[in-house]
């Protein structure tokens, strides 16, 4: 009797009560076919799906705006209204990422070829050194007309020119880093790859790229801030008698400067801060955290990166599955591009390269270099004259002095601070992130402020424009020193304490040598960046005020504005000579010193 009652009540509940018991996932699943249950994803999917879809829609929209019809000569309507900033930011972001993707592909191809063929390497690496020291304006002035002609009647041509300009500020250091990593793959891993018959394609994906990943990511971050630094030059194209402003952050800043609109500059700075923060949180931090597994050394001072976004993504089901699909596709390609033969096949036989051929190739390379140098000499002689060449060399020397003095000054400022912070683990992690963030922020946004101050106090431009060159690059010194100081072995710290080292002796014998290698790394980056920055820092405009310091940077900037090709070439050439000279005679020496004598 009571049983029937119970059954009845149960039936009642199920049939008539719309919410009888809370539906938990476990009992929910039993009622539905498997596919439905498993494809529903989890709550992390639910949480992340809308933003992911939203992002895709936004990017698609921005991409569609890139291919609008456009006639050369008609200005694109732009506005200084802060409300359009997010849209401009979106457009610029899209360009940045397309350029970054292109740089990535370029780097892989470049590095793979240069690491594989010695003959190609002899030509490609010096070429990269030269390309690296050519300022972005140089590339832009040569290529912009070609790109516009490529897509007549469409904005895409100009967009391509802008993207190419950004690409040229991003690609070289990435390619170089990847090439260096490929050359330094640990020999025993390489041997293992050969023993287990990995093909070139398999080696690249399984060994070389993973090994290069941390360095590559690091350089991607630097490239990104490099791209931001030249965002004005790449979007507000005013070279080779073109005058085009593409919708984007760069044009917004250019317009604000032209109109002497301080409010707009403030908005732009705010927008940039937000943008860098978003990049950091949504893009680089997750990538760094993900790339942690590619770390090769067992232990190092840097603490593991963490990213909330990556953690969330790892908890999702469906979104993660999409990623895994791509991985699976890649793995399929790995089994497809395999080696069909082993070391007993005649195909494995390495034909020893003919020494005659090698010598012939060397001779050809030398001939090319000689001819190029000869042509350059003739060109300078006929177009510019030697007097001017000497003058440009002198200008280069001025800039050299500025760069060196400023690097020294920032070292004096930041090395003690970096050491102090690095020795305190609780501060180190946080401040390191801040320094990284500051390095990513395009310092040239602060230039208008500097200009106003200099103009107001009537300061000497030769001196007071110089600090702008290290405004953005000093941070490399700071965070490298922090990293170096925080990885000082604990035993060494205790030993120094026990010995009672103090005062100057402590700095000379213990602290400075301990951070020297990482300081050199940071200073190399900072010096390279400062040379590039000299083009924007030695020649600054604010409305119709133009401040100028004597130096190679201002020379190039000025000649680019005038569209004087021979002089641009001369300026770029001289700058290349200086940059390569400094790299060879100062930084490489210091680097070797750091490697040989000062390590643990």
């Amino acid at each position: 009797m009571s049983n029937i009652c119970k059954l009845y009540r149960l039936l009642l509940r199920v049939d008539f009560n719309p919410h009888p018991i809370p539906v938990t996932v476990a009992n929910f699943k039993q009622f539905f076919p498997r596919q439905v249950v498993e494809s529903s994803g989890n709550r992390w999917d639910m949480l992340l799906l809308p933003p992911v879809l939203g992002l895709i829609v936004l990017l698609a929209f921005a991409a569609s705006q890139m291919t609008r019809p456009y006639q050369v000569g008609t200005p694109i309507p732009l506005s200084l209204d802060p409300w359009v900033l997010p849209y401009y930011l979106l457009r610029t972001t899209l360009r940045m990422f397309i350029a970054l993707g292109a740089s990535l592909i370029f780097s892989c191809a470049f590095a793979a070829i240069a690491a594989k063929y010695r003959a190609a390497e002899k030509l490609m690496i010096p070429m990269l050194d030269i390309l690296q020291s050519i300022p972005i304006l140089g590339f832009l002035s040569i290529t912009v007309t070609g790109f516009i002609a490529l897509f007549p009647g469409n904005l895409l041509g100009v967009e391509c020119a802008a993207i190419f300009a950004i690409f040229t500020s991003q690609a070289w250091n990435m390619a170089f880093s990847l090439y260096q990593s490929l050359r330094t793959v640990p020999p025993e891993l390489r041997e293992a790859a050969y023993i287990f018959q990995l093909s070139g394609w398999q080696r690249f994906w399984r060994l070389e790229l993973p090994f290069a990943m941390p360095g590559l990511l690091w350089n991607m971050m630097m490239s990104m801030s490099g791209g931001w630094f030249f965002v004005v030059a790449s979007e507000a194209i005013s070279v080779s008698n073109q005058n085009i402003m593409l919708p984007g952050m760069g044009s917004y800043i250019a317009m604000a400067i032209e109109a002497r609109n301080l409010h707009a500059i403030a908005w732009a700075i705010g927008g940039m801060l937000v943008a860098v923060l978003i990049y950091d949180q949504l893009f680089f931090r997750p990538l760094l955290a993900w790339a942690d597994k590619f770390r090769f050394e067992e232990s190092n001072g840097q603490n593991a990166q963490e990213s909330w976004l990556l953690t969330w993504l790892r908890r999702t089901d469906r979104i993660q599955n999409v990623g895994l699909k791509f991985v699976a596709l890649l793995e399929r390609s790995l089994t497809f591009f395999r080696r069909d033969y082993d070391g007993t096949s005649v195909r494995a036989r390495q034909s020893t390269p003919n020494p005659g051929l090698i010598r012939a190739w060397d001779a050809i390379v030398a001939a090319i270099v000689l001819i190029a140098a000869g042509r350059l000499a003739i060109f300078i002689h006929s177009e510019v004259g030697w007097g001017e060449a000497g003058y440009v060399l002198l200008l280069g020397f001025y800039t050299l002095v500025r760069v060196m003095v400023l690097i020294a000054l920032s070292a004096i400022l930041w090395v003690p601070i970096g050491i102090w912070v690095g020795m305190r683990p609780r501060w180190a992690g946080r401040l390191q992130a801040v320094a990284q963030f500051m390095a990513a922020f395009p310092a040239n946004l602060m230039f208008p402020v500097a200009v106003m101050l200099i103009a107001h106090w009537h300061l000497n431009t030769e001196i007071w424009l110089s600090p702008l060159m290290v405004l953005g690059t000093q941070w490399y010194i700071l965070f490298n020193v922090i990293a170096g100081a925080s990885s000082v072995p604990t035993e060494l710290r205790y030993a120094a304490q026990n010995l009672g080292l103090s005062g100057w002796l402590k700095w000379r014998r213990y602290l400075l040598p301990a951070v020297f290698p990482s300081f050199v790394t940071g200073a190399i980056t900072a010096s390279g960046g400062s040379w590039n920055a000299s083009i924007v820092a030695e020649y600054v405009t604010w409305g119709d005020t133009t401040l100028q310091a004597h130096g190679i940077g201002s020379y190039i900037a000025q000649m680019t504005a005038q569209g004087d090709f021979p002089r641009i070439a001369l300026g770029i050439g001289v700058m290349c000579i200086y940059v390569m000279g400094v790299n060879n005679f100062v930084w490489r020496r210091l680097y070797e010193l750091a490697e040989n004598r000062m390590h643990f």
């Binding site: 041997e191 293992a192 597994k293 395999r338 082993d342 007993t344």
Partner: protein
């Protein structure tokens, strides 16, 4: 037992170019055959070219001269039937254990399901079940080497090459792993038909191998061969094994001329000084003078008593022999008269005796001292000596030899060295001894 040949080397030679472009022979006229069903161990001094030989067989580097064949075919590169286990494990740190083990299968284009099944089997065979998803950095050294072995076994190689596969592990772990491999070998579950093992541990070689090859250095060649027919598992304390170990010690410590009977050839300026730490040498000589040895010992016994490993003790034995503090013959080491004096002496006497022997029997030390004495300042840059040495050895080796010479010179108070300036100088006698600067 079948004796079909798997790998055959005939008159193999190899030389490397040093930094200044001169070629230096590392291997010369090496004949070697690896047969089915055998384990061969390679022993020899550091730098005698064992690893080079192994790499030639693996197809990783080409030989300069002679003929290398695998199953009758010339070998131009790594063959599918040959796998290798590395001293440093050489695991890919970004791949999980399972992915690492699957590496060779993936390279061969084997479909994922079969790959996973075979990897699973290999992982289980080597005793790593449950760790499939771990990254190498989460594992201990012994477990990492197990992954290295599973990775090699999963491709079912005919030949397994092991270059000091156990020497990066602690003693107990290394022993365990070695026993496990021998057990697999004995049980026939392994597809492998032959193994070549490079080792520094004489006991290990004797316990594992059917054949022990002892390498002579400069240039490397097979000096002697020892067949071992004691059935496995072998008891390290049995009489047969102990005698064999003695025999191998005797083979390893014969003078450089090749046979013990021949008079030792004149020591030369660019001899590779054995990497012997002077403080350990002092300890070993003291031990040798005491009970139960009373000045003469069987090398393996001394190894045991001193709690050093073979590759720590052998350089010490060779060095003390070189300095004529001891004599080596037939696997025995005995104190010479000078050696007796040395052990009995005070600290000051010891340094003095050591210095005297050093100048007398180590031409490099004598040459350094002689050159320094001619300098008015009494000091010279180390580069001069490095350059001299690197005419006959590569830069790294030269650096190592000079370090040893400097350490001995310091101990014998023959010359001094300043780390910061890279200068070698005469000791400042009468003045207070130079302060040791701490190196950063």
């Amino acid at each position: 037992m079948k004796t079909e040949t798997i790998v055959d080397l005939k008159h193999v030679g190899k030389s490397f170019r040093s930094a200044d472009g001169t070629a230096r022979a590392v291997l010369e006229e090496v004949d070697f055959t690896l047969h089915e069903g055998e384990i061969v161990a390679l022993l020899g001094q550091s730098g005698s070219g064992k690893s080079t030989l192994l790499r030639i067989m693996a197809g990783l580097i080409p030989s300069d001269a002679g003929d290398v064949r695998y199953r009758g075919q010339p070998l131009y590169g790594p063959a599918r039937g040959i796998a290798m286990v590395f001293q440093s494990f050489a695991l890919f740190p970004w791949l999980t254990v399972q992915q690492n083990v699957e590496l060779g299968l993936e390279a061969r284009g084997i479909p994922p399901d079969e790959r996973a099944a075979r990897a699973e089997k290999a992982i289980e065979l080597i005793g790593l079940s449950g760790f499939e998803g771990a990254l190498p950095r989460e594992l201990s050294g012994g477990m990492r080497q197990r992954v290295g072995i599973a990775r090699a076994l999963v491709v079912e190689p005919e030949v397994l090459l092991m270059d000091e596969a156990f020497s990066a592990l602690d003693v107990l772990t290394g022993e365990r792993l070695r026993e496990d491999i021998l057990e697999l070998w004995g049980s026939g579950t392994m597809p492998t038909k032959a193994m070549l093992v490079v080792s520094h541990n004489i006991e290990e070689a004797v316990l594992m191998a059917d054949r022990v090859l002892v390498f002579a250095s400069n240039p490397g060649r097979v000096r002697s061969e020892l067949r071992i027919s004691i059935p496995r598992p072998r008891d390290p304390n049995s009489h047969g094994v102990r005698t064999l170990i003695d025999e191998v010690y005797a083979l390893m410590t014969v003078t450089r001329a090749g046979r013990a009977a021949e008079p030792a050839i004149e020591p030369s300026l660019t001899d590779r000084l054995p990497e012997a730490d002077v403080i350990s040498m002092e300890g070993v000589l003291e031990l040798l003078a005491k009970q139960p040895f009373n000045g003469r010992a069987d090398l393996p016994k001394l190894v045991e008593e001193s709690e050093l490993t073979d590759d720590e003790l052998l350089p010490i034995a060779n060095a003390s022999h070189m300095l004529q503090l001891t004599e080596l013959a037939h696997g025995d080491i005995a104190l010479t008269a000078v050696g007796q004096l040395y052990v009995a002496g005070s600290n000051a006497l010891r340094h003095e005796l050591f210095g005297k022997q050093l100048l007398r029997y180590v031409p490099l030390a004598a040459h350094i001292r002689h050159s320094l004495e001619q300098e008015p300042s009494g000091e010279l840059r180390e580069e001069h000596f490095l350059k001299l040495l690197s005419d006959s050895m590569d830069a790294e080796e030269a650096e190592r030899v000079l370090r040893v010479a400097i350490e001995w010179g310091r101990y014998g108070e023959v010359f001094e060295y300043n780390y910061h300036t890279g200068m070698i100088h005469l000791p400042e006698e009468d003045v207070e001894p130079p302060k040791e600067e701490t190196a950063v």
